[in-house]
Amino acid sequence: MDEFDRLLINRLQHGLPLVRHPWEALAEELGSTSEALRERVQALLDDGTLTRFGPMFDIDRLGGAFTLAALSVPEARFDEVAAQLEAMPEVAHNYRREHRWNMWFVLGCETPQGIAESIARIEAETGLAVLNLPKEETFHVGLHFPV
């Protein structure tokens, strides 16, 4: 990753301008060309520096639902339960955290009912109780990592 990549990553975390020719606009801003920018973004996606490039939807505003949930998984069953969640498209993210509640995941569904059904399914398939912690108020969302 060179200086230009850093500049590009920082700029692209703020979003593509919603103008008729966004890559040209960005190329002008960064002193590059549309083609060169898109090639760099593809390379950064390919090597795993970026995980995704695209619209970030706020599913709550679209009638969908998210929740943060956790499981307390016995160590001997940890990988097995991780694989069960891996197979569910409703599970958007899953992290191990060092705590009694050692598996933390985000469920994303089109409806609140979908969340309830997913939780019931996880409890039935794993035999473990789900700690369900839906957000009640958002104070801040602004993931930005200066590089």
Partner: protein, 168 residues
């Protein structure tokens, strides 16, 4: 669906979500590509995106970095048991700290006494400990207990996938 979009937007928006779940193709004219997929003209496509972004339904069309790869290998979910009478003010204060990426109020549950969540990221373990201490100082006596849950492994990070979910 959002109150700020017209009913005809709703079907288009859902298709837009499905079309871009894995990302926006890196083509020279992305709005023309989307327009072709949605079967509407390019100006209407751009206007739809502008409405959705103004409405907050699209936060932005942006790159999501792998923060581990960028050196932010330490992430801590700090959780706090904050006095209900003070949480609106203190949640806003904690959310405004530059080192906090996400900050939410969530319900307490049986065996889970914490109602304020603030996510912090750092390049070293000492960074996130320092951030936790700063939050502790800001919350003062309004906070009864806290913990920091450090992530040790990403098990899954695909983001939202509606297209592959089973229909009810």
């Amino acid at each position: 669906m959002s109150v700020c979009t017209s009913p005809s937007d709703d079907g288009l928006t859902r298709r837009l979500i499905v079309l871009t779940e894995a990302g926006l193709p890196l083509v020279a004219d992305p709005w023309a590509w989307l327009a072709g997929e949605l079967g509407i003209d390019v100006d209407a496509t751009l206007a739809l995106l502008q409405r959705l972004q103004a409405d907050g339904a699209i936060r932005r069309i942006a790159a999501i970095p792998n923060h581990y790869r960028l050196g932010y290998r330490h992430n801590g979910m700090t959780v706090w048991d904050v006095d209900d009478a003070e949480i609106a003010r203190l949640g806003a204060l904690i959310g405004a700290q530059p080192f906090v990426s996400h900050c939410y109020r969530r319900p307490r549950q049986e065996g889970w006494p914490y109602n304020l969540f603030a996510m912090v990221h750092g390049r070293d373990a000492s960074d996130i400990e320092a951030y936790r201490n700063q939050i502790r100082a800001l919350l003062g006596n309004a906070c009864r207990a806290n913990e920091m849950l450090v992530s040790s492994r990403i098990l899954k990070k695909t983001g939202l996938r509606l297209a592959t979910q089973r229909r009810a």
